[in-house]
Amino acid sequence: MNEQSQETAVGTDKTDSADPVYKELMRQGLWANNPGIVQLLGLCPLLAVTNTITNALGLGLATLFVVVASNSLISLIRHLVPQAIRIPIFVMIIASLVSCIQLLMNAFTYELYLSLGIFIPLIVTNCMIIGRAEAFASKNGIKHSAFDGLMMGVGFSIVLIILGASREILAQGTLFDGIETMLGDWARVLTITLYQADTSFLLAALPPGAFIIMGLIIAIKNAIDHRIKK
């Protein structure tokens, strides 16, 4: 899934400067209409699995893959889908993509697969994905749809990673703990211990902590918007 996202990123880089639509899509996905902190979609995985950066990154990349692929596929078949039953069809496409990613993670990153648990199959119900399918991909061409999916996915992942990083620092005093479950054994060197915590700040690891930190991130984003407007 790493390669997939990189390829898409490279593929769109060239056209980015040519078409103002891409710039707008990028702004929408990463900032103005960020699925995590503006649309507040997919909050369930956002809050549940972001206790470490590794989990956040794993779920973020999985979601990114699914949203890019589902946007492209749905955009391809958008003229063939009868209006009345479009939602079931979208869900089936998304569900099959999620099954692919679930099987892939089960095969290649088994420990990460275990630690994300039920939240991998739950990507199907992530409103952000069905939302992009319905609101964007079913009305636009494949290039724009794929780019929109990429930007939305990246925006979502960034929020996940910020949340995961702050919760991991507060609760364990580390960064990238357990990254080897995702990238292989060499990645152990990436784990940074910021401070040795005698007693962990348990609240940050618990769901209420996720809500509070999420609220802070939204507040900071709004404050920045406010300042820009001035």
């Binding site: 007693t199 700040f201 348990l202 609240l203 509070i212 609220g215």
Partner: protein, 350 residues
């Protein structure tokens, strides 16, 4: 018969917010004094730490919100919150416990909702719950009574223990929380709970060594002191009688029902009334005018609900004391209670 003939408004005395807050703080003094008399000066250090943190964080956030800093600080509500937090945590808890708690209470529970008068939850209790959930070990290492402490602690020892985790002689707080006969120290509620789990009956527990070592008499005295302070508040009409009276009545009735149902497994009402944070809660925490219900019927229901939850959690729940959790749950019900207990306007409606 003589009738008093006064024209409205009938309230003769007007008090500003800061006068009310200062009065509440003054009425806390007997309880705080007994606490430090029995368990050492450490709680006074905690109070000063908490007050510093409260004033600093309140000033910081008011500045951030472009609100008048000095005027708002003068109302002393932040100080009251800080004192309530400081006296509910174990006296020798590390300094950052009380600081984190106070900052959380002021910034996240009070100012984020819009400052004094806007908060849904009681700041002190929300902070206590945060601390209890986040740092269970530090929040449950209570000290034995001074007379039972194996090492006598000087003021410097206590200051050192709060800031570094060990006394000047190098004893850690864990060692200090073991009393003279090697029995691990716990609050009376905790002792009763653990012994019940191990299959003892209430009458056996009350005569056991553990319970006698658990400083229950001192806790009774402290609760009595808070009761005295609370009665002054009632007398001065700072708090309405509805909440404290119905809360204590509720604790009495509900724990009596449990006690009558099975006297071996549930502690008697008097024990519930004078242990843990019952009295402190009744007069100083539940009666917080901001987060409590505002109608008369609502106040009574609010207090009874909290009493019910306290008794349930103490008797069958997972924590030894439950005032903080119960108050937060009660706070959540306040909008509903206020909505359904609106008094009818005279002459209006059916």
């Amino acid at each position: 018969m003589a009738y008093k003939n006064a024209s409205s408004p009938h309230q003769k005395q007007r008090r500003t917010t800061s006068q009310v807050m200062v009065l509440v703080i003054l009425c806390l003094i007997p309880g705080v004094f007994l606490q430090s008399y029995f368990f050492g000066y450490a709680n006074l250090i905690q109070i000063s730490l908490a007050c510093l943190a409260a004033v600093a964080s309140e000033a910081f956030i008011l500045k951030l919100r472009n609100r008048p800093v000095l005027n708002t600080l003068k109302d002393a509500s932040a100080l009251l919150t800080a004192i309530l937090i400081a006296i509910s945590i174990p006296p020798l808890a590390p300094w950052w416990i009380v600081v984190i708690g106070t900052i959380f209470a002021i910034i996240f529970v009070k100012q984020v909702y819009g400052g004094l008068g806007q908060n849904i939850f009681n700041p002190a209790m929300a902070a206590y719950v945060l601390l209890l959930i986040s740092f269970p070990v530090q929040m449950t290492s209570w000290l034995p009574v001074q007379s039972l402490q194996p090492f006598s602690l000087t003021l410097m020892d206590q200051i050192n223990a709060i800031f570094t985790g060990a006394t000047l002689d190098g004893y850690s707080v864990e060692q200090l929380s073991v009393s003279i006969d090697g029995l691990s120290m716990a609050t009376p509620l905790n002792t009763v709970r653990d012994a019940l789990h191990n299959g003892f009956t209430i009458s056996e527990i009350f005569t056991s060594l553990q319970f006698k070592a658990s400083s229950w008499q001192q806790i009774y005295w402290i609760n009595g002191a808070f009761l005295a302070g609370g009665l002054i508040l009632l007398f001065k009409r700072v708090v309405h009688w509805h909440i404290p009276v119905s809360f204590l009545l509720g604790i009495g009735i509900f724990s009596f029902i449990a006690f009558a149902y099975s006297p071996d497994l549930n502690a008697p009402p008097l024990f519930h009334l004078f242990s843990g944070a019952t009295m402190l809660g009744a007069f100083f925490i539940l009666s917080d005018p901001v987060s409590a219900a505002t109608t008369v019927k609502g106040r009574i229901l609010f207090a009874l609900l909290i009493a019910f939850i306290v008794v349930i959690i103490r008797n069958v729940g997972g924590y030894p004391d439950a005032v903080a959790f119960a108050v937060l749950l009660g706070n959540m019900c306040v909008p509903l209670l206020d909505y359904y207990t609106q008094p009818k306007v005279y002459g209006g409606g059916k």
